[in-house]
């Protein structure tokens, strides 16, 4: 069953052609056979009818003589002759009363199934003198028809076989084989081998196909080589484009960056201008303030001078006090010495206490501890006194220094007063300067305002440029992307083109 189904799997032209045409031919032959048989049957039947009628009428006519001569033997001889024919089932001559005259044959009971021919036998006067009944079997027809059918079937089968062989052969030779060649060529073409050689086909359709293939291959070769070269240049150009676009992109980026920098710078500038403006404002304020302050300062200088004088006085007073202080501290020192002496004595006492304590033993432990503590106290007093001493020394030094300094200071103050005078003078200069500064600062403020405006404008312009160059950048990126795609495509194309082998490799 599988193979039967496989038979109908029309995967080959041979089968595609063969199986349907086989079916068609078989059907055709069957129809032809049927028709033929039918016609034969009809023909045979009519032949038989003719024959039967002819025989009957012949016999009837020739029997007249024998009827008139009562030669029943001759009539029976006729019958015997006729019966010899295998198709004839019966033949009987009857008298005018339908009683059989002949003996060799009788009409059978099943005569209805036969082809019966009845003739009236008339003498010259037209009087009926007898009858003839002839019966033919249709078995012969049937047999002949069957035979005919068999022959037909046989010849049809033979013809079928021959036809099949012929068709198969010619289909193979004239269609499948050339097609196979064409398919082989096409396969090589699919592999891209355009170097395939094709012999020119015949003048039939397949020959035309092969010729068309040949032309196609030629044209393809031309086209593909053109395409190849074009692709190469396209590819190069695409790459160039890509490169330049990249460059463009870089430039644009740089530009953009530069613009951004400029913008930033401009913004900084603007900011700094603002700051400058602010600073100059501040300067103005400062200048104003300076002027005010200087004025105040001048006033203050005077005050200072006065105060300086006061100070001088004070300092003189101070010096006196300091000397006093010095002296007092020397007194402290003396005190200190006393303390020290106390401390020392304390220490001795403590030491003695300790000795005593120790010798006191257990009861004197506490006392020893107290003694130790006293000693420590004494030590610390001594330390402290030492420190105080040191401190006093330091104070002494300091006081000394202070005296010096104060003396210096007093000198200094003298200088200071001079300086203050100078300062007052300078201050006045400063006032003037401050005024000028104020003016200048105001100018600066104005200028920087203008600068700020201008730089704002520049900034906005730059922003536009930035935006524009941003767009350009985007565009360039797009172009870059596209050109990258283009380059990819042309690479693919090149790859595709390279599939086709255009020259045979030597």
């Amino acid at each position: 069953m599988m193979t039967f189904g496989k038979l109908f799997n029309l995967d080959k032209i041979g089968k595609k052609f063969f199986v349907p045409s086989l079916i068609f031919i078989v059907a055709l032959f069957a129809i032809l056979t049927v028709i033929n048989v039918g016609i034969n049957n009809a023909l045979l039947k009519s032949q038989m009818e003719k024959r039967g009628n002819a025989m009957a009428s012949y016999m009837a006519k020739t029997s007249v003589f024998y009827y008139t001569n009562y030669d029943l033997g001759a009539l029976d001889g006729f019958v015997q002759e006729v019966i010899k024919e295998p198709d004839v089932v019966y033949a009987v001559f009857y008298d005018e009363n339908k009683k059989p005259l002949t003996v060799t044959s009788r009409k059978p009971a099943n005569a209805a199934s036969l082809m019966n021919y009845n003739q009236e036998i008339k003498d010259e006067t037209g009087k009926t003198i007898g009858f003839l009944s002839l019966g033919y079997s249709s078995k012969a027809i049937a047999a002949a028809v069957r035979k005919g059918v068999w022959i037909m079937l046989l010849t049809m089968t033979l013809a079928l076989i021959l036809l099949s062989i012929g068709i198969t052969f010619s289909v193979r030779k004239f269609i499948i084989h050339p097609l196979g060649k064409a398919v082989a060529v096409a396969n090589r073409l699919t592999e891209g081998d355009l170097t395939v050689r094709i012999e020119a086909g015949g003048r039939d359709e397949i020959g035309q196909l092969i010729s068309a293939f040949k032309d196609m291959v030629e044209k393809l070769k031309i086209i593909m080589s053109q395409v190849s070269s074009v692709t190469t240049s396209v590819n190069a150009s695409a790459n160039d484009i890509a490169v330049s676009v990249d460059q463009q992109a870089t430039v644009a980026s740089q530009q953009s960056a530069a613009v951004a920098e400029i913008t930033a710078t401009m913004e900084e500038l603007s900011t700094s201008s603002t700051q400058i403006a602010e600073h100059s404002k501040t300067v103005v304020d400062l200048a104003t303030k300076t002027w005010d302050n200087t004025k105040k300062g001048a006033a203050a200088a005077e005050t200072v001078m006065l105060k300086m004088n006061d100070i001088h006085t004070d300092s003189q007073n101070s010096i006196n006090e300091i000397v006093e202080l010095g002296r007092k501290s020397r007194e402290i020192s003396k005190v200190m010495e006393i303390i020290n002496t106390i401390a020392d004595q304390t220490k001795l006492i403590a030491f003695n206490a300790a000795l005593e304590a120790s010798s006191a033993g257990e009861a004197g432990k506490r006392f020893g501890v107290v003694a130790v503590e006293i000693r420590r106290l004494a030590d610390s007093v001594m330390e402290s006194t030492g420190e105080i001493e040191a401190k006093i020394n330091e104070i002494q030094d300091s006081i000394n220094r202070l005296v010096i300094v104060s003396e210096k200071g007093s000198k200094g103050i003298q200088d200071g007063i001079e300086q203050t005078n100078q300062t007052a003078g300078s201050l006045l200069e400063i006032v003037e300067a401050a005024q000028a500064t104020q003016e200048a600062a105001k100018q600066i403020s104005l200028s920087t305002q203008q600068q700020k405006t201008a730089s704002s404008q520049v900034v906005s312009a730059l922003r536009e440029i930035a935006a524009g160059s941003g767009q350009t950048s985007d565009a360039i990126h797009q172009i870059s992307a596209i050109s990258a795609t283009l380059a990819n495509h042309s690479d693919s194309l090149k790859e595709l083109v390279n599939v086709f082998k255009l020259e045979t490799v030597k």
Binding site: Y70, G73, D95
Partner: protein, 387 residues
Amino acid sequence: MNRRSPSVYATLSLYVWAAGIVFLFAHQAAADPGVTANEVVLGMSNALSGSASALGKGVKTGAMVYFNKVNAAGGINGRKIKVISYDDKYEPKATVANTEKLINEDKVFVLFGYVGTPTSKAIIPLINKKRIIFFGPFTGAEFLRNPINKLIFNVRGSYFDEAEAQVEYLTRARGVKKIGLFMQKDSYGLAVKGGIVKALNKRDMTIAAEGLYERNTEDINAGFADIKKENPEAVSMVGTYKAMAAFIRKARSEQFNPIFLNVSFVGTAALIKELGAGGEGVIISQVMPSPQDASLSMIKQYRRDMKEAGHSEFDYTDLEGYADAIVFVEILKKAGKNLTRESFTKAAEGLDVTIGGMKFGYAPKNHQALKEVYMTRVSGSKAVPMN
């Protein structure tokens, strides 16, 4: 002076001699087969065995009695009559084979004394082809008489005549209206039937019942039933003695007793012998006068010659054979020394003799020597002529 050279003369005379010799030989060869200076050979094929053997034997016996007598007297025109006889058992195929032998091998002059209708019919093509004379067949078949075949010479009367006589007897003498026919299923039966039909048609009658049986058998039952079914008053029977006897016996046994009629071919003596007492009243039509009727000089002659030859029984069959021989011999006499088929034919067609009170005559348009039909009835185991 003859200017021809002697060598020419020699050649010429040689030619003449050669021609003469050839002519002589040719002339000799022109003499018919079966005829020599002292002999004429006859070929006979008939039923010497089988169910019709009495007929063949009877014909042969009667004929040979006379031929022997003639030969004993020196023959005819210096020629003795020799008969080569074969047995065909009353079967046409054998008849043909025998006849071919007689003609091709034995090279007989004439065919003589054949018995039967189908047997004779079978060899007619051969006769016609070989142009051999067919003399005195023991059959009354119409086709041997009509149309005239130059080669065929009949002696006895025809079945048509017998049939007519029978029907006339039945209708006239017995007032029979319903006549049946029991016949041999072959040309013999049909030959007689034709006569019966003709005779009945003449009287606006038809065959009331018909029964058939196969030649050389006794299977009469089916045919008997067909006849008895119709219960005819008379049954005309066309067959040979054995089968006819069986039929009559059966009929008698079934109390079916129509008038039984037979034709001459049945074999009268044999039939009577078969039937015994049951044969009483059976009618047999004859073409020969009664062999018992010594008043006829032919019969006297016949009986004498038969006795001399050692035969004590006399029957229509051998009487007919005897009569055939007589006619033949008369023609031989008439043909003379130069005996050829042609001379025989000519002699025969001019024959017009009365021998033993019986008139035998042929003419170019008549190849049947006798015409009489005699009705007989079996009575007391004898066939008694009716009037």
